[in-house]
């Protein structure tokens, strides 16, 4: 059997010579990563604008003529879908996954660069199709990001014609894109690591991305299947999800379908999706905390297993999104139990992050601030999840702003805090320049405090029973005036936080244009990606020879060692110990 270990026996690397080959239809994982990141951030800004408009309506109902009920629903839907799928999934896996995997495991590129390139262009196409729905007759779908039938394809819902079809088509294209990228990430991590890079020496970032990708490959099929079935219901008039129903006073032709089937399929995708977003964030935040606290990550092996166990459990909790759907109530027992079990590995991770900081030499750099901010927002979001995971508490809180506050804290704000941490942390690797610290600090404090100004009152409004997705509350007697005042406050906070994001965008351009080159590896990180011959790494990443890895990625402040940190590729023989230090005493020879 001819067995080509692609890691280091690849005959020669083809360097593209044309501009298009280098930067547009590029097969270099770094270029693809930047393409993914820029597209994702662009649609993310669109979704941010939508949320501002939405909040204007909620905070100051009847003040803005340009928002009508249909538009409000459409903006809610598009905001949710874009943020979850086209921003977070794409940026974490397509952006950071693409950039970091080959560099962190020490290979020249993904195993199948051509497929990787196709992955980005399919993603790009899916974004175009999605945005096209804004210009389609009837506008984008207003069914809410969960797209529940029957309302998503009945005529009363905005965008029930073109909008929903374009949305489903865009999702299907996105899934194809994700599959092509995901196959690359998994195969590269499994089969193309450099010498000495064992699975248990990989940085947690890679573990998070790896597990999340596997979740994606197994969960997105459920979305694809439900999208195809709903497309048929909408276009061909089949009745997979549609029961016999009267719409706008007229009986439809549908008969005998099961709307709950859609909910099961959707959440069989939807719950793992939460972890597709969260696990890479867990991984990256672990690395950022360890580097900036100059201390190894606490309980590395426990962290790896926690990631894997969370990934596994995420497939058996989906129906906790459906306690009020009308499914068999006995399911609630099972799904509440599994849901609460997930809190165990998650809590282990939170404790380990805190213990990593404990007695560390904490540098309060911008990435570190965002990482610590993440620990706060994630803990708060996670704790409200314990409430919602229980059937009896969930029932009254269902479809209130408490739910909105919960999932925004846990899977909106938290991954975005990590994304900012990661962008500030890895920016010097990607561009060779460090983002401006002063602007970064302003951005952090505005964002961190601002999110609390938005979401803490939202929990309270939810407890009062204010329902979500309502265009206007009107004269609802059970809602006190204070709730309306809080709603207005939240809207003002949203506008301020959105403005603070402009500082971040300005910082990106300012830094690229004006800031001087930073020194190589400015954070003194030990993991492999910072130790390429050129920074930013060239095509092919490593010079003539691939690095050999001798240790894990977390050798910071090692007792007895002169240097503050030992890079992964430095062999034991090259490590300088303090004179008179007895290495055998600690029983630590090599990790």
């Amino acid at each position: 059997m001819t067995h080509i270990a692609i890691a280091d026996q690849e005959p020669e690397l083809h360097h593209p010579r044309t501009f298009i080959g280098k930067y547009i239809w590029s097969q270099d994982h770094k270029v693809i990563a930047i393409q993914y990141a820029c597209t994702a951030i662009f649609v993310g800004l669109v979704a941010l604008m939508l949320s501002v408009v939405m909040r204007l309506q909620l905070g100051f109902p009847d003040q803005f003529d340009f928002i009508n009920p249909n538009m409000y629903l459409q903006f809610v839907t598009m905001h949710g879908m874009i943020m979850v799928i086209y921003l977070l999934t794409a940026l974490l896996l397509g952006g950071f996954g693409n950039y970091l995997i080959p560099l962190m495991v020490g290979t020249r590129d993904m195993v199948f660069p051509y497929l990787n390139m196709l992955s980005f262009w399919f993603y790009f196409l899916s974004v175009l199709v999605l945005l096209a729905s804004f210009f389609a007759p009837g506008g984008p779908t207003g069914a809410g990001w969960t797209l529940y039938p029957p309302q998503s394809i009945l005529e009363g819902t905005p965008g029930s014609g073109w909008g929903i079809v374009l949305m489903l088509a865009s999702l299907a294209i996105f899934i194809i894109a994700f599959t092509m990228g995901g196959l690359n990430y998994v195969s590269t991590i499994l089969q193309a690591r450099t010498r000495g890079m064992t699975l248990m020496r990989m940085p947690l970032t890679i573990w998070g991305i790896f597990t999340a990708t596997i979740l994606g490959l197994f969960a997105f099929p459920a979305l694809l299947v439900s999208a195809i079935m709903m497309l048929f219901d909408s276009v061909l008039g089949t009745s997979f999800f549609m029961p016999a129903i009267v719409s706008l006073g007229e009986a439809t032709d549908y008969e005998g379908g099961s709307p709950i089937l859609f909910q099961h399929l959707f959440w069989f995708f939807g719950h793992p999706e939460v972890y597709i977003v969260a696990l890479p964030a867990f991984g990256m935040v672990s690395d950022v905390l360890s580097v900036h606290a100059r201390k190894n990550i606490f309980g590395y092996r426990m962290m790896v297993w926690a990631i894997v166990i969370i990934g596994g459990l995420s497939f058996v909790v989906w129906a906790h999104h459906m306690y009020v759907s009308g499914m068999n109530p006995y399911f609630g027992f099972f799904f509440a139990t599994t849901t609460l079990i997930i809190a165990v590995p998650t809590a282990i991770k939170v404790y380990n992050w805190v213990l990593t900081l404990w007695q560390g030499n904490i540098h309060l750099t911008v990435p570190m601030l965002f990482a610590i901010g993440f620990i706060f927002t994630f803990t708060h979001g996670g704790l409200s999840g314990l409430f919602l995971g229980n059937v009896v508490i969930d029932l009254p809180l269902s479809d209130t702003f408490f739910v909105v506050a919960h999932f925004h804290m846990v899977m909106g704000v938290s991954p975005i805090m990590v994304l900012f941490a990661a962008i500030y942390h890895w920016f010097p690797l990607v561009t060779g320049k460090q983002l401006n610290t002063r602007l970064g600090m302003i951005h952090f404090w505005g964002t961190f405090l601002g999110t609390y100004a938005i979401y803490l009152p939202m929990h309270y409004i939810g407890f009062l029973g204010v329902p979500r997705r309502y265009y206007a509350l009107g004269d609802t007697s059970f809602i006190p005036d204070s709730a309306h005042a809080l709603n207005a406050n939240i809207t003002i906070a949203v506008i301020i936080v959105a403005l603070f994001q402009l500082i971040f965008i300005i910082n990106l351009f300012w830094t690229i244009k004006r800031e001087p080159k930073s020194r190589i590896n400015p954070w003194d990180a030990a993991s492999l990606e910072w130790h390429t011959p050129d920074v930013p790494p060239r095509h092919g990443n490593w010079g003539k020879e691939l690095p050999t890895v001798h240790r894990w990625a977390y050798d910071y402040s090692v007792p007895g060692v002169v240097d503050d940190f030992i890079p992964q590729h430095v062999p034991d023989s090259d490590v300088t110990y303090e004179p008179g230090y007895d290495r055998t005493a600690t029983g630590r020879e090599s990790t």
Binding site: T198, L199, L236
Partner: protein
């Protein structure tokens, strides 16, 4: 690794160490790993289709058509249930046999035999798709079955049937194209240096498509 190996360990710990010990988790080419991961992902798609089918079949408000009659062929004035589908299944399983032989000859380095066996596999696959087209047209034209309804009972019968066999048929069609391309590249000598593992990878896909058919056959035609 020294520290890890010095501890006493059980089977599972050994397994963990085996998996984490080297730069490649599986001793095969990455292409094969990629195909396996893809097939597991695709398994989820077909499983969910079939589970969705079972669900709508159970919840359908009208009677499900009698499969032994819908899928019967009239030969010489007699109704023979499942005749066409038996032939189709036989053809597809035969194609798995020729595929396995192609993998064998590929590793022996017999390019000519590999080429013809793969072409034979593709031809059998093409035959399968052709018969499926015949079956579809029979159901549509003679029985009047449509995705949105049928005169024999539950509308979901037509919807699920066309959706799932259609999705499987697309897989077979894709496989026929894939097989033909790889067969021609084998013939042209594109893999002389790289090795013939690609034939086995193509085979994995093809056997998977066959296996899926067995499940569709069981759940659609025999239930």
């Amino acid at each position: 690794m020294t520290e890890m190996n010095s501890k006493p360990q059980g089977y599972w710990q050994h397994l963990v160490i085996d998996w984490s010990a080297d730069k490649e988790a599986f001793k095969v080419n990455w292409g094969k790993v990629m195909m396996w991961v893809f097939l597991v992902s695709d398994t989820f798609i077909f499983s969910l289709f079939l589970i969705g089918y079972m669900n709508v079949r159970i919840s359908a408000t009208e009677a499900w058509p009698l499969t032994s009659e819908v899928f019967a062929l009239v030969v010489g004035g007699e109704h023979i249930p499942l005749l066409l589908i038996a032939i189709m299944t036989f053809i597809l399983i035969t194609s798995s046999g020729t595929m396995a032989m192609a993998v064998n000859t590929a590793y022996q380095g017999n390019k000519n035999a590999t080429f013809w066996l793969m072409i034979a596999t593709a031809a059998l696959g093409f035959g399968f798709v052709g018969m499926q087209a015949y079956e579809w047209s029979k159901l549509i034209v003679e029985e009047g079955i449509r995705p949105w309804g049928n005169p024999l009972g539950a509308a979901q019968f037509g919807s699920t049937f066309f959706m799932i066999t259609g999705f499987h048929g697309l897989h077979v069609t894709g496989g026929v194209i894939y097989l033909t391309v790889v067969a021609i590249k084998v013939k042209l000598g594109h893999y002389d240096k790289k090795g013939f593992q690609i034939v086995e990878i193509t085979g994995l896909y093809w056997h998977f498509v066959d296996l899926v058919w067995v499940f569709i056959f069981a759940f659609f035609y025999l239930w």
